[in-house]
């Protein structure tokens, strides 16, 4: 499978994603510079973390108008798998591919630490390798990961099972103490309604091999590959 990794000025997790796709998952990876107008040769796209355009104006606000983004929107509309991690998630929100917006962490601090995630929906191309209510340990590293949407949108997210990951305690309890940034309903990751676009603040690419101190990110990439093998693009 061929993964396209979109590189914006200021992306800084692109090489980590590339490494995981090629060296850990044994798949083909290709960098796609944000000015490139073509993503059609890819089976899946990853928008990596970082600080695209220096987070100017709002996180992801400028990247969203990069030439490649209209192609990402088309790719997603055709059912292609799109994974946005951290700043990639923020860009997907700004682009309207996912509902809601990010606010500053409630502590106003940049938080870089491992957190626990509860798997809320295993019927997505990104989580089919996981168990319902399984707890994953995945690092976060962000200053603006405080997910917000209005009540109506939250209802829709819940009714359509679009909330895929929530912050929880190591025991799997979703409470305020386990919420690192103040996210509404402890939301750490959501999909679009169709389920082919996932945005998540935690970094699965930073914990996909044991040398990194954890492998809980691995099943997310494995799920994408198995879905592509079975269902195709």
């Amino acid at each position: 499978m061929k993964f396209g990794i979109i590189v914006f000025p200021g992306s800084n997790c692109d090489a980590d994603c590339f490494h995981v796709i090629e060296q850990v998952m044994g798949q083909e990876a290709r960098y796609i510079w944000h000015k490139e107008p073509d993503v059609t040769a890819c089976d899946a796209l990853i928008l990596p973390g970082g600080f695209s355009y220096g987070d100017y104006l709002r996180t992801g606000a400028i990247a969203r108008f990069s030439p490649v983004m209209s192609r990402v929107v088309d790719f997603a509309a055709q059912g292609g798998l799109v994974l946005g991690i951290c700043n990639g998630f923020q860009i997907l929100l700004e682009a309207g591919l996912l509902p809601g917006a990010m606010l500053r962490n409630r502590t106003l601090r940049f938080i870089c630490k491992p957190v626990h995630l509860k798997v809320k929906n295993t019927e997505t191309p990104f989580t089919r390798t996981l168990q319902e209510h399984q707890v994953l340990r995945v690092p976060i590293a962000h200053g603006e990961g405080n997910y917000y949407c209005d009540d109506k949108t939250l209802k829709e997210l819940e009714n359509n099972r679009q909330i895929v990951f929530t912050y929880c305690t190591p025991e799997g309890i979703e409470n305020d103490a386990a919420n690192p940034n103040g996210s509404l309903a402890n939301i750490a990751g959501i999909t679009n309604k169709a389920g082919n676009v996932l945005g998540m603040m935690p970094h699965p690419e930073r914990c996909s091999e044991s040398v990194m101190g954890g492998v809980d990110g691995y099943p997310i990439f494995a799920a994408m590959i198995s879905w592509l093998q079975e269902v195709g693009r």
């Binding site: 606000a61 400028i62 108008f65 929100l93 917006a101 606010l103 405080n146 917000y148 103040g182």
Partner: protein
């Protein structure tokens, strides 16, 4: 030529952690009667053109598309005619 002042503010009800922190700091500085602080953005835009209504329409379009995020923010546009930037 026009100069626009665009005020971008968080919608009522949207948490403003920055405003909260500043409010707490003002309390520490002995202004205990400060009830609420909300922080927004002030954006200045200079643009060419003669037609004020057209300028307003386009500034609102710019705000909807890029300058503000309608999910969390409101904005207000003020326009004045100017000679030089």
């Amino acid at each position: 030529m026009f100069k626009a002042n665009i005020y971008v503010t968080l919608k009522p009800g949207v948490l403003d952690p920055q405003g909260e922190a500043v409010k707490n700091s003002l309390h520490v500085l002995d202004y205990p009667y400060v009830d609420e602080v909300r922080i927004g953005k002030y954006i200045q835009v200079w643009l060419q053109g003669e037609d004020r209504e057209k300028a307003r329409r386009e500034l609102e379009e710019m705000s909807d598309k890029l300058l503000a995020n309608p999910v969390i923010e409101d904005y207000r546009v003020e326009i004045a005619e100017v000679d030089e930037p």
